[in-house]
């Protein structure tokens, strides 16, 4: 009897333990797929810091800014090469003959979304004075705006001539100024909203854009279609506009942005159909979608998932600190040339990008006007023999006598592996490399203070104009500016000053070609690669086209809701 009781007690304990363990499964197992209707579900791969145009310096904050806000100009969603078109401007601006005064007519009937900051909570009509306020806000030192650079030193005066007319006077002609006006930082805000919400304005967007904030939490941001949004239409006069050409946008009634920082949950959520597309393909999952034959895998085709790929407007590079006595200056040019020749990018492209990248010959990526596919950088074709000969000619056979060089990079595993590959490549040349890793803030801090000898980094174009790349080597932009190599060449600088205000054309490209010659010869950087931008879209997601400079693609996307629902719907919350 006693034995039975002991046995029963034991069984009871086990049962209790099993029940405790199983309880959460029961709770979660009740999950029923809920059909969300005309809703887009998107995974943001970083936390959103702000929805204030003045402070949205990073990509994901700008994505959210662009949901609610608009500027004077934007890029056509479909046209390539990228083409600027009016957004809140009635038409493209009149530009004075001297290129210093831009006159815009503002669209009539555009209203801010309804919000408690306005009388009777009804959004008022947009006026030219709103742009005056918004642009001056960026320049206000108290605001400490990350986007101040858009106008700082470039704009002399912004003036509302009347309710619909705005003039912007520049300090000097600027060929890229229209590009700057397309950026989310140059969006228009309402003074009432800024003054009502104060510092909390960052999470109380009140714009004229296609979507209106419904709910904000650190892990999920929900937008609904702005009921007072004017009639805007999907591009029609462009090839590839498809069946939605000329239809009113946005198509989606709601956009749910799930913040998913880690790769695995982002990947699994997409594959389970919880998100309509996936940006930033996780490195560990590239092989699942992109075969060794450089084609989409069978699994992908079977599941009718499309892999979209387009050149990203970026390039990676290893920068030398040109002020460092061991690697910088004219006296070490031979060393930089030899190191550049000894670094073969091909294995990096295959190993880390599975071929979804191309060797960078120079700082203008494919897709940017001025990119020259026929140009071959004489110091980027891998040639170890030539590299060794250069060192020998300069009194360093097999690298003898060259001091150890410190290469600084980020502490994540991919960057460390790339740095180790660089180290091995240089060892073949006889140049000893010491790797030093740091977090991004630490590395950035050191770069801005001109401390590293050399470091690995990348540049993502702000706008589609080659000037954005060439300015990286302009002497006056030295650290803490974007010329992080602290490269100074008087001839290069003089040519830059001449080319920068010019519009893209043969004359300007000729000047850029001369600058390229100088920079290629001096080797302030070892060029790395141009990455491919990739997206995965489910077959029910329509109209996705990779756009390097449009942040609110959701405005143009349409979900075939019936199709999605037929496949089991979207897991909802």
């Amino acid at each position: 009897m006693l034995f039975k009781m002991a046995k029963a007690r034991k069984a009871g304990v086990f049962f209790l333990a099993a029940a405790i363990l199983a309880a959460p499964v029961g709770v979660a197992g009740c999950k029923k797929k809920r059909v969300l209707g005309n809703t887009l579900r998107v995974a943001l791969r970083q936390k959103v810091r702000t929805i204030d145009p003045a402070h949205g310096g990073d990509y994901y904050s700008n994505v959210e800014v662009a949901r609610a806000y608009e500027g004077l100009l934007r890029y056509n969603y479909l046209k390539r090469p990228y083409e600027i078109e009016p957004a809140l401007a009635e038409s493209m601006p009149e530009i004075s003959k001297d290129g210093r005064v831009y006159t815009f007519r503002i669209k009539k009937g555009v209203r801010f979304q309804n919000d408690g900051c306005f009388p009777n909570a009804i959004g008022r009509e947009l006026a030219a004075s709103d742009f005056v306020y918004s642009f001056n806000r960026l320049l206000d030192p108290k605001e400490a705006s990350e986007n101040k650079w858009l106008f700082d030193g470039k704009v002399k005066e912004v003036k509302a001539v009347d309710a619909q007319t705005l003039t912007i006077r520049l300090t000097r002609p600027n060929a890229v100024f229209l590009h700057l006006l397309t950026m989310p930082g140059a969006s228009v805000v309402a003074r009432e909203a800024v003054e009502t919400y104060g510092k909390d304005f960052a999470y109380h967007p009140v714009g004229t854009g296609a979507f209106q904030l419904d709910r904000f939490s650190p892990n999920q941001i929900v937008w609904i279609k702005n009921p007072s949004f004017r009639v805007e239409r999907f591009p029609a006069d462009v090839s590839g506009a498809g069946e939605d050409a000329g239809k009113p946008i946005p198509f989606a009634e709601k956009v749910i942005d799930d913040v998913i920082v880690e790769d695995q949950p982002a990947w699994l959520n997409f594959m389970q159909g919880n998100h309509d597309y996936l940006m930033k393909l996780p490195k560990d999952n590239v092989a699942a979608v992109w075969g060794a034959d450089h084609k989409p895998t069978k699994e992908l085709r079977d599941r009718r998932i499309d892999l979209l790929a387009a050149p990203a407007a970026d390039f990676t590079y290893v920068a030398f600190n040109m002020e460092d006595p061991a690697v910088g200056g004219a006296k070490n040019r031979y060393l930089r040339q030899a190191m550049s020749l000894a670094y073969d990018e091909a294995p990096t492209i295959e190993k880390f990008y599975l071929g979804l990248a191309a060797r960078a010959e120079f700082l203008v990526p494919p897709g940017i006007p001025g990119y020259d596919p026929s140009f071959k950088n004489p110091f980027r074709a891998y040639d170890l023999t030539k590299a060794r000969a250069i060192l020998e000619r300069n009194g360093h056979p097999e690298g003898r006598g060259i001091p150890e060089i410190t290469y600084e990079t980020l502490s994540d595993s991919t960057q460390r592996q790339i740095a180790e590959y660089f180290q091995r490549s240089m060892a073949q040349l006889g140049v000893k490399i010491k790797i030093s890793v740091a977090t991004w803030p630490e590395l950035l801090s050191r770069i801005r203070k001109k401390q590293p000898q050399m470091f690995g980094i990348s540049w993502l174009y702000d706008y589609p104009d080659a000037e954005n790349g060439y300015q990286l080597l302009y002497g006056r932009n030295e650290s803490p500016g974007p010329n992080e190599a602290n490269y100074k060449n008087a001839r290069y600088d003089a040519l830059y000053e001449k080319a920068a205000p010019m519009k893209d054309g043969p004359e300007r490209r000729k000047l850029f070609a001369k600058m390229r010659e100088l920079a290629v010869e001096d080797v302030p950087w070892i060029f790395g690669l141009h990455r491919m931008e990739t997206r995965l879209t489910h077959h029910w997601t329509r109209n996705y086209k990779i756009h390097a400079f449009e942040h609110n693609v959701e405005k143009y996307l349409r979900v075939d809701v019936a199709w999605r629902d037929a496949e089991g719907g979207l897991a909802g919350r």
Binding site: L21, C30, K148, W149, V259, W440, P441, P480, G481
Partner: protein, 311 residues
Amino acid sequence: MTTYLVRRLIYTVPILFGVAIIIFSLFNLVGGDPTYQMLGKHATPAQIAELRHELGLDRTKLQQFGDYLGQMVTFDFGRSYSTKQKISEMIWSGIPPSLSLAIPAFIVETLLALIIAMLVAYFRGSLFDRIVVVGCVMGMSVSALAYILFGQYVFAYLFGFFPISGYDPDPILRFKYVALPALIWVTVSLGINVRVFRTFMLDEVGQDYVRTARAKGLSESSTLFKHILKNAMIPVITYVVIQIPFLITGSFLLESFFGIPGLGSITIDAIHNSDFPVIKAMTTIETLLFIFGNLLTDALYSVVDPRVRLK
């Protein structure tokens, strides 16, 4: 005991001061300058100087340290560099998600560990005991990350038992989202806690009073449940109680992988963004919780064990 507690509270002042020096040095003297990251790639020296002034970073280190001490006293850590939100609001909004995950996981895991520890103490030396010990060691040896990746892939993606990630502020619906991370929490912590509790139990098994009980003819189960368990609960309670304050601060890995907007997730974001005010606030809170946890444990000793007198 009151005198003892008051004295211990007074002792926390120099400890906190020391911690403040360490935290301040770590983030203000060694770490990178946050203004570079905040202003992005187009920053000019003038803009950097403006922002440094705005944030008070151009004041002397001593003045900045004084500000920090003031913040520790008033619990007003200002606003986040990164999101411009009030840090106090961020913390208050982060506590419920963290606790939603931590409390159920902690209770289940502690109860389960206690039950298993009692069973293995009861069957000590048997095959069952050995299997559990080996299982615990194996469980402890596997990284928490492996459990997360496996659990997310198998139970959420393949079988669909749980959502892959996410969180719902609804008081009931949130448990759908915290169920899987809570199970993983239980799995990760179970091995070590079973071993610790088993040791507490077995320590008692060798005591004289147990020998006396057996000599008086008490059954093994009565000895275990009536005598050994009661005495083993003293170290068990202290071991468990010291962990309670830390439940508030959440789990860095679980919150990050499962998209739970708790304090662990807030801390990770702050580290990624060099958001020093948030990091300082979280580190200070962790320190205070640690001191408070120790104090609570000491006080509980005297409550659960009448032999202990605090003077």
